[in-house]
Structure formats: structure tokens, C-alpha cells
Amino acid sequence: MSLAWVLTLGALLFSLGIYGVLARRNAVLVLMGIELMLNAVNVNLIAFDAWIRQGNATGQIFALFIITVAAAEVGVGLAIVLLVFRRRETINVDEVNLLKW
């Protein structure tokens, strides 16, 4: 399989993620869009790593770091979403708009 196909997959996934972040109004779905973007990055990193074929597998190790950190980020993210939901009973990001000028 050529590198270009995998990179295209990565780019498509990333674009889907951006669409999710920008178009979805539900905070949980926005977080899922971000996860999609991170996984697109993982696809890219692993594809590049396989293509470059270095001994030290930097790209694969980086992907592992990203998976770990993404889990931590979602943990904090869902905690904050839950906090907001408890108070306002909505997680629609358009309705969380007290701070405006």
C-alpha cells in the first residue's frame, strides 16, 4: 500500500474531526471530534514511521504517547462536562455563554 493512501485516510479522518468540533453543539460529541483528530495524527505518524523505516520507531512511540495523553484529556474533559451538566442541565456549547461582551 502506498504512503499516499494512508496519508489521505489520515487527512480525511482529521477533516471529519474538525467538522465534528465545528458543527456539533454537544460537548461530548465535540470531544469525540477531537479524539478523531488525534487518531488521524496517529495514523499519519505510524504511516510515516513505516515509510521512513528507522530503527528507533519514533513515530510508533509517539503514537503511544498520544493515545495515553488523549485518555487523560478525555478524563478531565468528561469531568468538566459533567460539572457543567450538573449545574445547567445542558451540555450544548451554544447555551454555555454567560461570558460575553
Binding site: 528507533n56 519514533t58 478531565v76 457543567v84 454567560l98 461570558l99
Partner: protein, 485 residues
Amino acid sequence: MPITQTPEVAWRAIAPALALAGGGVIALLVIAARPKIHRAALAALSLAAIGAASWSTFDLCALRYRVVMQGSVAVDGVSLFANLILLVTAAMTVLLSYHYLERRRIHRAEYYPLLLFATCGMVLLAAANDLILVFLAIEVLSLALYVLAGMARRDAGSQEAALKYLLLGAFSTAIFLYGIALSFGATGTTNLGRTAVKVASGGVDARLTSAAMALLAIGFGFKVSVVPFHMWTPDVYQGAPTSVTGFMAAGTKAAGFAALLRVFLVSFGALQWSWRPVLWGLAAATMVVGSILAIAQSDVKRMLAYSSIAHAGFVLVGVVAGGREGLSASLFYLLAYAVMVLGAFGAVIVSAPDGRERLSFGEWAGLGQRHPVFAGAMTLFLLSLAGIPPTAGFMGKFFVFSAAVQAGETPLVVVGVLASVVAAFFYLRLIVLMWLTEPAGEAQELGASPAPALALALAAAATLAFGVYPQAIMDLARAASVFTG
């Protein structure tokens, strides 16, 4: 190279970060063992950890600049100078926080470990010489700051700040990571020094590196709040507890800019001609938009948030100027900005008793008559933010603008000076309110207590000292303007 080779750990070089992270872990363990522990003990522990980190930073100054840990951590002037800014910021934040959190009844024990972890992330970010470490450091500081921004759990504004910061911060990190992946694909390495070698040798795909630089610039732009990636800044700065806001404004900017400088000047230095015009445009837009939007604000914290956007633009002028002059001017500016913005947010913290703050402009009317010392300190910080001599802010602007003129960027300096004139308007508006209007209603006490008063006095002294006698700090910044690639 066999993969099983054990990497060498340069304990001494990462001692500042270890001291902060260690302090944070110890604080967490103490909290787990004794949840009712007096908060003063935790504050003292934090100060001790920050002190240990400062001591090991001074210890590092004696060493030769080099990269350690398989080339992922740089011990050089920029990282050491950034450590100085970050540790001062953290220590002042602890001093400012204690009574503020107490009075607002949000004095949760986790505040201190989170503060230490965030500082640890910032220290690592400033020293990161590998894109993997840049990413990890950004996440360490961001995750801690998301939680800190939401520290006032029952306050709707604080919750909203945390949510917005989290969603936009994670979004920007994802974009930043895509840039890292492309840079890795183009050069086959994530190490900044080796990237520089590859880029300079010319054997890289120009499309990939351009896309990588653009995405990295967007990621950094979000973190240091550069227009047009500044949308989150006013909301988060306004909603977060004020002590956290001051810490974010001073610390994130210093660490973010140190990393931005390192990535663009070291790794992509050979491609200056392609990124400099872009940063030029971002700097101009940031200064102008930040200053103009600040005029319309009626909330002091929000006004300071827009002012922090404008200040990011001024630092970018130094980055665009490049070279040793531009680098040292940026470093000086970051230190000056840290001191004065902590002072300004600190003044907001002590401006009213019982956990309240004077947030709307109207509440500052006539403070000059009732609390002249306090109003004088706030005036000094505002003058410094506006860039009026003899203050740190003026010298900072002077150094970045003169570096830019020397680099032949006079049009950018013209934009910058015009933006500072506009910006002076809203700082002066608050000063006029404090001194030239009659106080209305009942006399309000201040919420001052010894620790924040000490922090404010230190900030005021530094703001004045850097303005009157900038040479010592400027010499230090100039000596520090060295990267080890």
C-alpha cells in the same frame, strides 16, 4: 544503535522540573493521607518546591550549555531565563492565591499540586528540544490549567471557562500534533536539532514543511493567544479564578513563546523567508485587534485579557525581528510582562474584601482618594502595561521595537506604536477613574493581607526597577539568548 541501550538520565539538567513534579506528588500524597491538612502547609510546601527548582536552576547556570536526555532537553540560556520567569510567576501566584482562595471559599487542597504540575509542564516546555517533549509538556501544563480554571466549581463562570479552555485547548493541540506528524514525515525526526540539519540541507519536501510550520504556528498561536486564535482568551481569563488567570497570563505566555522561539528559530531557521511574513501578519493583527477590542470592555479582567492578547503581538514583533537582538528583546519582554500582569491581576485580587473583587470599571472610581497606596500600585502596573516610562513595559516595548527596526521591519514597528497609542487609552481610562473622579457610595475596604501585599510590593518594585535600570536584566537576557541546537 541497539534499542535495548539504556538511555542516560541527566538528573541535574532536569532537576528543576523534577523538583516541581516531586513537590506536586508529595503534596498529593499528603492530601490523600490528611485531607484536612491546613492549606498554609501546602502553600509552604509549594514555595519550598519552587525554591528547590530555583536553586537547581541556578546550579545549572554554571554548566556548559548542551542538550541532554538523547537530545530531548536543552539546557541553554533561553530555557534557564524562561525558568527564572516561570518560577517567579509560580511563587508570586502562591503568595497571591492563599487569602484569595480562602475568602472566595474555593480553597481546595488540590490547587497547590495542580499549580506545581502546571509549572513543571511550563519549565519542560521551555527546555523541550524534541517535538515529543514539546507535546507532552504542553499537555502537562494544559491539563492542570483546565482544572485550575474550573477551580471555583460552583461558579458558573469558572465552569464555563474550564469547558471553553478544554475544548479549544484540546482542539488546538490536535492541530499542533498534525503539524508535528507532517514535520516528522518531512524530516524523519522529531528532534529539533536534527530537524534543523535536515531542513538546512534542503533534502525535505517543501510542501510538507510549509504545512507543518503553518499547523505548528496555529497550535502555538492558540496557546499564547495570538489573533485570530485568541477567541478563548477573554472568556477563560474572565471566568477563571483571578489568581489562576494571572498565572496563566504570565506563565503560559513565557513558556509558549520560549518553545515557539526554539521551534521556529532552531528547527526552521533555514526557512525564515517562508514563516517570517506569516508571523509578521499575525503580530500586526494581534497588536491591533487586541488593543481595539480592549477599548470596548467594561470588566477589568476582560480588559486585561484583551491587553494580554495585544502583548502577545508585541512579543511576536521580537520573534519576527529574529537574531540575537530580537531574541533577547522577546525574553526581556516576557519577564517584564510577567511581573506587571501578575501585579495587575494581584491588584484585582486585593481590591475588595470578603472574596469579592472590583470587576466593573465603575467600582474603581475614586479609589485614589480612599486607598492611595493601592491605587498607586495599580496605576504603576497600568502605566507599565500601556508602555509609559519609567516602567518595565516601556523598556520591553523599546527593546522589541528597536530590534525590529534593526532587522528592517520598520512598518511593523509603526503598526506596533499605533496599537500602543490605542491601548494607552483604556489603561488611562481606568487611571482617570481612580484618581480624577469622586468616590461614590460607601467607602469599601480593601481585601489586603500580608502575603498578597508582599507579592504586590515585589511586583511594583520590579516593574519600576526594570524600567529605571533595565540594563542588568537586559544584559542577562542578551547573555541568555543562545540556543543549543
